[in-house]
Symmetry: C2
Subunit: 210 residues, 2 copies
């Protein structure tokens, strides 16, 4: 059994990979990150422990890939819903910033309130708050690339004259990602489409009289 030749990565079974992702996401939601083990993921996925170690160096690496896969699936579903032939990898740009942000934020609310996403993402977010290394890894590979999509969209909006010249896009985007993250993590209020719409309006036009 030991010293078996590792199969080439091109021979990875898609079915095993998916089973491992699903097992990792389910487990982390059920027992939390600290108690999740490679052994338990393997048992649940019906694969050998060595299969996992052959492809990933650590449990955080498995979980990261599982989340990347989950968010790709979410993008694919969203693109399909929008009738697109290809999976959208950017915030839509119809030329109407308000409409585009509302569209994306409503989808974000749908994802946050989807139980398939909610339990594993909570376990991960909770661990990232106290585990600086894991938090940094997920920020770099998962969260920041998503935030950068807003930076790109806001830069385009600036060129179109829809965002004021002095605004820093990397801070501006937090006017909606921050409130959504807080409502989700601290349960400070309901996550609804109406709420997403209001956030976009307040962020764009401000709360002071115009």
């Amino acid at each position: 059994m030991a010293q078996k030749t590792a199969p080439d990565s091109t021979r990875r079974s898609e079915r095993s990979r998916r089973a491992i992702y699903e097992a990792a996401l389910a487990l982390v939601g059920e027992v939390g990150y600290p108690k999740m083990t490679i052994e338990a993921i393997a048992a649940r996925a019906g694969v050998g422990k060595q299969t996992i170690y052959r492809w990933w160096p650590s449990k955080s690496a498995v979980l990261l890939d599982a989340f990347l896969d989950l968010s790709e699936q979410a993008s694919a579903e969203l693109s399909e819903k929008a009738g697109l032939d290809e999976v959208a990898t950017a915030i839509p740009d119809t030329g109407d910033l308000e409409a585009d942000l509302k569209y994306v934020l409503r989808a974000t609310v749908d994802e946050m309130t989807n139980p398939k996403f909610d339990a594993p993402a909570r376990a991960l977010a909770a661990e990232g708050v106290v585990n600086e290394q894991l938090g940094a890894e997920f920020l770099e590979k998962l969260l920041e690339p998503q935030l950068q999509l807003y930076v790109d969209r806001l830069r385009a909006a600036k060129e179109q004259g829809q965002v004021a010249p002095g605004i820093d896009p990397r801070i501006a985007l937090e006017l909606w990602t921050g409130p959504l993250a807080q409502r989700w993590m601290q349960r400070t209020g309901p996550l609804s489409h109406a709420y997403a719409d209001k956030l976009v309006e307040y962020a764009l036009y401000g709360i002071a009289p115009r």
Copy 2:
């Protein structure tokens, strides 16, 4: 030893109470909420386990009081710094909403970056993400009362014509509490006074051209 008459609550030793709070805050930061026990708090505070059980029904109750005490201390320090005779329990109202919000948000940044606050608050915030009951308890007793101070200040600002009539204060306040919470919990960027100022400006005047 057992069956000792419980002392009247007025006889609570201030010194023991403070030792218990400090032990609870230190422990939760070091081992996390799930592994924190009443026994360990008692040992660290140098009091008997029964002393704690006499005053608090559970570890979450001890920790909640410890946090309430910590935030009262922070308010007292802030009031002293501002040269006030009494401890401020509201957001200042100088008639200038922008200046008042910047003042309070800078103080919030100072608190969030203070190690005395950071470690225990992280442990608690992380647990609240996955532990719905604890999250709800702390939201109700600690977080929501703080958010309501902004609601009061925004209502006053509305009467003074500094907030547009259609704005919902309970959502508006999230334009700054959300980004601050996200930067703190998810470490998405530095927490500085300059950042706090920008949040206030963006929230008040919006990111679209005026």
